[in-house]
């Protein structure tokens, strides 16, 4: 059988780094092929070359046996390559059909488009209303828009980049059904994910990249998740420490926390009451866009609320700003690293001033202590293994995972009384993710109350003592992590608070 896509000896260099070195592998028709690797292993570059965004420096690609060198995404799509991005490129104010039309060649975006969208989406079990505004859709539904847009062009190879990171377990199941149906029709799928259990459940072949090179190929169904992870990072993983069971006095108490938003597509927080105790990790699960951003902004002090709604060690802090809250021991690491948790153009040294100037005394009567800031930046880099040329590197020059380590490290090393982190390991590779989770657990063991807001259920299961779900701006009552099944959580995430109670 001729492979649908053959990659032979492909090398791609960027100034100072080799993104892909002599990469070779085959993707067969009707195969779900996993592309595994840590951040920076070269997966994205490879995908960009297949999709015609970049061209290989050396080596060739073959499509059905014929040389394949797409010069633009348009050419790649004409050949039959479809790509579903990790981050969607949709306009919230437009309808589903309008968004789909924007991505299609003009001759395909005719009057019958809504009908075709309806037909294709029904056929593949991805129900979509073409007339709805994208801003009103859930994240899972938005992903459907992207997938349907690809399917309308009848691709022969579908590339999916981290497709499940934003989905509920039920949505993941639906997606898998669709992918399997496509596979049966002979479509090949190149599946990129960090979630090894999913890969084991879905994929029939895998290519493992490390440092730009192919370091292994396997049938993931025959490997353990642990084995796959070790293949990716090239060393043995330390077994995760068990969550500490002890929890002490309440450090952060939310009482009837309500914050009505006026922003379009924003979510209002409604009557959230929860207690965060010393020594525990409270996981907050939920599908993106259910109030997580708003909750984190309220806890950070960026959105003030009435004082009694938030109590920190018994003090009313709801009306205080971020600086005063940090002084009292409440630190927050928001989800968006660039532009929110860190200023992209500023150096890692300058970025310590953002959140650490009070607790670490980096500013004295308003005067910046540059020496102290350099020392603190160096300490964060050292202790959290941030890979960077040095403390003078601008934050925007770091890769996502490394910047995440820096941001989390900057908060953890301040030894706050309460730490709220959002998506602590989003886009971070397995090794670094484990280091971050361990650091959060160690922090809790030292008496800090930690709240982790995440969409990664496996992660929350691993590190949380207790567990709550946010849906539609309401937070469910927390329950011990061990006593909750993934299915129950999935139902809660869908907003069915009573179904699982």
């Amino acid at each position: 059988m001729t492979a649908l896509l053959s990659i032979r000896g492909v090398t791609k260099r960027f100034p100072g780094v080799i993104a892909n070195a002599d990469v070779s592998f085959d993707v067969q028709p009707g195969e779900i092929h996993a592309l595994l690797g840590e951040n920076g292993a070269g997966k994205s570059t490879l995908v960009k070359m297949i999709y015609g965004v970049q061209r290989p420096d050396e080596g060739t690609m073959f499509w059905n046996g014929a040389p394949f060198a797409p010069g633009s995404p348009g050419e790649a799509r004409a050949a039959g390559v479809g790509l579903v991005f990790q981050h969607f490129s949709l306009f919230e104010a437009l309808t589903v059909a309008e968004n789909v039309a924007l991505g299609l060649p003009a001759e395909q975006a005719g009057r019958d488009l809504p009908e075709r969208i309806r037909r294709v989406s029904a056929e593949y079990g991805l129900p979509l209303d073409p007339a709805r505004q994208v801003g009103q859709l859930s994240v899972g539904e938005r992903q459907r828009v992207e997938i349907v847009r690809c399917l309308l062009q009848s691709p022969r190879l579908l590339i999916m980049d981290e497709p499940t990171s934003v989905l509920t377990p039920q949505e993941v199941e639906t997606l898998f059904l669709t992918l399997r149906k496509l596979r049966e029709e002979g479509v090949a799928i190149l599946y990129i994910s960090h979630k090894l259990e999913e890969i084991r459940a879905l994929c029939t072949a895998a290519t493992v990249l490390r440092g730009g090179k192919v370091v292994g190929a396997c049938d993931p169904r025959e490997e353990t998740a642990r084995g796959l992870a070790e293949m990716m990072i090239g060393r043995e993983l330390a077994p995760p420490g068990a969550p500490s069971g002890t929890s002490g006095a309440a450090r952060l108490t939310l009482t009837g926390l309500t914050a009505i938003t006026t922003a379009q597509f924003g979510v209002s927080l409604r009557d959230i009451s929860v207690e965060l105790r010393a020594g525990e990790v409270l996981g907050v699960a939920g599908v993106a866009g259910n109030g997580q951003d708003e909750l984190v902004a309220v806890l950070a002090g960026e959105t003030p609320v009435s004082p009694a709604m938030i109590q920190l060690d018994g003090r009313h802090v709801g009306g205080l700003g971020p600086t005063q809250r940090r002084r009292l021991g409440l630190n927050v690491a928001p989800e968006e690293r660039l532009g929110h948790a860190a200023a992209p153009e500023m150096s890692l040294t300058d970025n310590t001033f953002l959140s650490a100037r009070t607790r670490m005394r980096l500013a004295l009567r308003g005067f910046l202590r540059l020496g102290a800031a350099r020392g603190y930046a160096a300490k964060v880099i050292e202790e959290f293994d941030v890979r960077t040329p040095g403390i003078h590197a601008p934050a925007g020059s770091l890769s996502g995972g490394n910047l995440q380590k820096y941001v989390i490290g900057r908060e953890i090393l301040q030894a706050p009384g309460v730490l709220v982190v959002s998506q602590p390991t989003w886009g971070v590779d397995a090794g670094a993710a484990q280091a971050i989770r361990q650091a959060l657990r160690d922090l809790a063991a030292a008496g800090t109350a930690v709240m982790v807001v995440s969409q990664d259920l496996d992660e929350l299961m691993e590190i949380s003592n207790r567990f709550a779900v946010i849906a539609g701006g309401r937070l469910s009552a927390p329950r011990p992590a061990g006593e909750t099944s993934v299915e129950e959580i999935g139902l809660l995430m869908g907003g069915k608070a009573d179904a699982a109670a």
Binding site: S72, G74, G82, H340, S355
Partner: protein, 350 residues
């Protein structure tokens, strides 16, 4: 790299300025020499550099701080006028009273009035999201009319034969001269001090840090706990205060009284100075010297070459134009033709 832009912009301004002068029928090389070289060849012109550079530098330093934070105070000219009015009025209120406290009092009044005038657009932006560029610019004309009204009314010289001008300030209300026999006054020292203080604020103090952070990443600034309202108020007040101080200096220094012709556009030219100096205090110092040069040389060119005053304004404006153009090209490159763009848009949108 940072400084290549301004230098190239100056070079381009000279080239296109020469073309402009040639089109006007003047000897281009000679005109450029008169503008950029002759002022440096005699003592009086050199001292005039200080006279013209002082207000430019004072105002531009303040503007640079605000521009760093993305607060666009375009109305420094108005704050300059209001500062001159308040400082001058304070001096006239104690006419013929001697005392070393008179000048400091005038300076305080001028700076406070300039700051207050600048706070109007700041408050309107915070409260109603009104664009501070438009509001501060419009207030320039309001301030100009106030000056005219006051010097033809309450502040008019009682012995001045109804000319629209105030009394000439008495000695205690006049700035001491720095260099004997010239008009260079102690305001130059204040401008230098402002440069140093602004540098400390920007590089060593949280105030400057919050400005830079707000300009670069507003959400990160809010995360860091800096409130937008505070940043906007402070940067408008500081730039307005410095412009007001410059106005007082101008009235109590080279002009010596309040006249409707007191404002000559320093507040607008300072915008060019701030950008030419890369919004950096040290750069602003150099840029204000350069712009002062074009003022003095421009006057010389008007006299010697019979160039219209507007030609000099166009010449100064070119500098800002090329400077901003350089910035665009240092950040972006030329895009391919429309057809390729369309193809790429198709390719990139999937």
């Amino acid at each position: 790299m940072t400084w290549a832009g301004p230098l190239l912009a100056v070079a381009l301004t000279m080239i296109f300025g020469m073309i402009l002068f040639a089109v006007l029928g003047k000897d281009p090389v000679r005109t450029i020499l008169i503008i950029f070289w002759e002022p440096l060849t005699n003592d009086f012109s050199r001292s005039e550099l200080l006279v013209k550079g002082t207000p430019l530098c004072l105002i531009a330093v303040g503007l640079a701080l605000g521009f760093r934070a993305g607060v666009w105070n375009i109305g420094a000219e108005g704050q300059f006028i209001v500062g001159a009015i308040a400082g001058g009025a304070a001096g006239l209120a104690v006419y013929d009273t001697a005392g070393i406290w008179v000048l400091p009092m005038m300076c305080l009044a001028g700076a406070a009035a300039g700051a207050a005038w600048a706070l109007i657009p700041a408050i309107l932006r915070i409260r109603f999201n009104a664009n501070e560029i438009l509001v501060s610019l419009m207030l320039v004309y309001v301030a100009g009319l106030w000056l005219s009204a006051l010097v033809t009314g309450p502040l008019r010289d009682p012995d001045g034969f109804n000319f629209p001008e105030s009394r000439i300030f008495h000695d205690s209300a006049t700035l001491p001269i720095l260099i004997e026999g010239t008009r260079a006054h102690v305001g130059a020292l204040a401008a230098l001090a402002a440069v140093v203080l602004a540098w400390i604020a920007l590089e060593r103090h949280e105030y400057g840090f919050s400005l830079k952070l707000f300009g670069q990443a507003p959400r990160a600034a809010r995360f860091a706990g800096y409130r937008e309202a505070r940043v906007v108020m402070l940067s408008m007040a500081v730039s307005g205060g410095l412009a007001g101080l410059a106005g007082t200096f101008e009235a109590a220094g080279p002009v010596g009284q309040l006249v409707p012709a007191l404002p000559v556009g320093y507040g607008f030219t300072a915008i060019i100075v701030a950008f030419l100096g890369r919004l950096h205090p040290g750069g602003v110092l150099l840029a204000s010297a350069l712009m002062a040069l074009t003022y003095i040389g421009g006057e010389g060119a008007q006299l010697e070459m019979r160039l219209p005053a507007a030609a000099i304004s166009v010449f100064q404006g070119m500098l800002l134009f090329f400077l901003l153009g350089m910035d665009v090209f240092s950040r972006y490159r030329l895009a391919p033709s429309k057809a390729r763009l369309a193809r790429r848009a198709q390719g990139g949108a999937a």
